[in-house]
Symmetry: none
Amino acid sequence: MPYGEHMDAREKILEAATALLAEAPVADVSTRAVCEAAGVGAPMLYRLFGDKAGLLAAVVDRGFERYLASKRAARPGDDPVADLKKGWDNHTRFALEHPNHYRLMYSPGLTVPPASAQEAHALLHAILERCAAAGRLTVPPALATQVIMSANVGAALSLLTRPEQYPDPRFSERLRDAVIGSLTRPADPADATDAPASDGQAPVPVAAATLAARLRAEVPPTFTAAESALLQQWLEKLSADQGVSGRRR
Amino acid sequence: MPYGEHMDAREKILEAATALLAEAPVADVSTRAVCEAAGVGAPMLYRLFGDKAGLLAAVVDRGFERYLASKRAARPGDDPVADLKKGWDNHTRFALEHPNHYRLMYSPGLTVPPASAQEAHALLHAILERCAAAGRLTVPPALATQVIMSANVGAALSLLTRPEQYPDPRFSERLRDAVIGSLTRPADPADATDAPASDGQAPVPVAAATLAARLRAEVPPTFTAAESALLQQWLEKLSADQGVSGRRR
DNA sequence: GTTCAACTCGTATCGACGATAACACAGATT
DNA sequence: AATCTGTGTTATCGTCGATACGAGTTGAAC
């Protein structure tokens, strides 16, 4: 009964603030609007949360709590590295679905980092501990946590705040695989060689990217502008088609 | 130009805002403090910058401009991948030396992304074009730009906003090497498939021939037969175009 | 030299905000 | 009944971003 007659004042305020924040054009709300929407006076808000930053931190924690609940519900699978990738995708998806909540966590004025950020850090650390226990990690878990978390935050924030500069959602997966791949080793004990044996042949995307860059720097005179444009388009497609590079097939 | 007096006031305001922002405990300044420090009235500020966001954007652009100037001054070295790493470290160092300026770029309320962000993106893209031209890249330069930039931003912001969670400065280098290493391939001159030219760059005919050979062995499914035929025809023409071999640019 | 117009700049001000003081009220405890 | 505690309301303060208005200032025309 979300709209019950008598809800806890704290809950009403949090609910109103969450709703207002979700529809706000920018990641900010005024305490007055929250109080009016919640039907309470201003002093009530400050008694409960002490400060506007406290209110925002509580809102962030509350929103993140649901995300963490769904993440905790996901039982650890047999492959901890696969859990890593799922965690990355969940993190990114949550940021895109709740942009204002996510941006609040990295907004200035938030003196103390929300507790949810530390809990997310701890959850990621736990997964990496399992990876280390399985012998899949090539660096200490604490270091791997910092690397993965910061890269994930960067990808999410870039997608949120510069959508026109990051139109390709595949770049998140690419960054994810690059980061995780460099911190882990494959599970197969037979493939103990950490150096991926290259067959010596440049794969199609590499060759296409190389040619495309060379052509961009030096336009061959025997091609018309239209032909060059179409060729560049095809090379772009060839470079992007096959996902992972030659590393670790 | 009849803007002599205006330029002076504009410069004074920018200087005062920069100084105040550098010493501010949080990444924000009040227009009143800026006006008082600059010795001008409030209407002058709004006449010159239109808005507080406009003022902050101008301040950010001004501060970033000096950073970009030092980056432009660094002439490209012989190894473009080494330039990539230097660019990463410069980016991170700038963020740590000017935390408030850096946080402003990703602060909410900044409606339009500062022009300096786009210029930084373009500069990174230029370096990656050179990497691609040297055959060192395994993905298209545009995608590599997004991956590297977002990871770098994430590392810098994590160091700035969560210093207690990221006490280990080595994690930035680790992330840097992981990301760059996954997007580039080592400069191995002893590659059997394609003999690189003396200047280390694969000329257009060689790159075209390599790609043609790879495509003949492995037809990409996203191309129709007619498209593949035309592409092969063009690649043959490029492979036979021995005469050019000009210096790039 | 006087007058007028255009422009510049500072004072005063507005509305909104974050935050707080003071007071009024209900129910529980003694 | 008297007191205490937690709650809710009104009024208010100081600051902020932004602007209207009029007092200077310049330059040129008469």
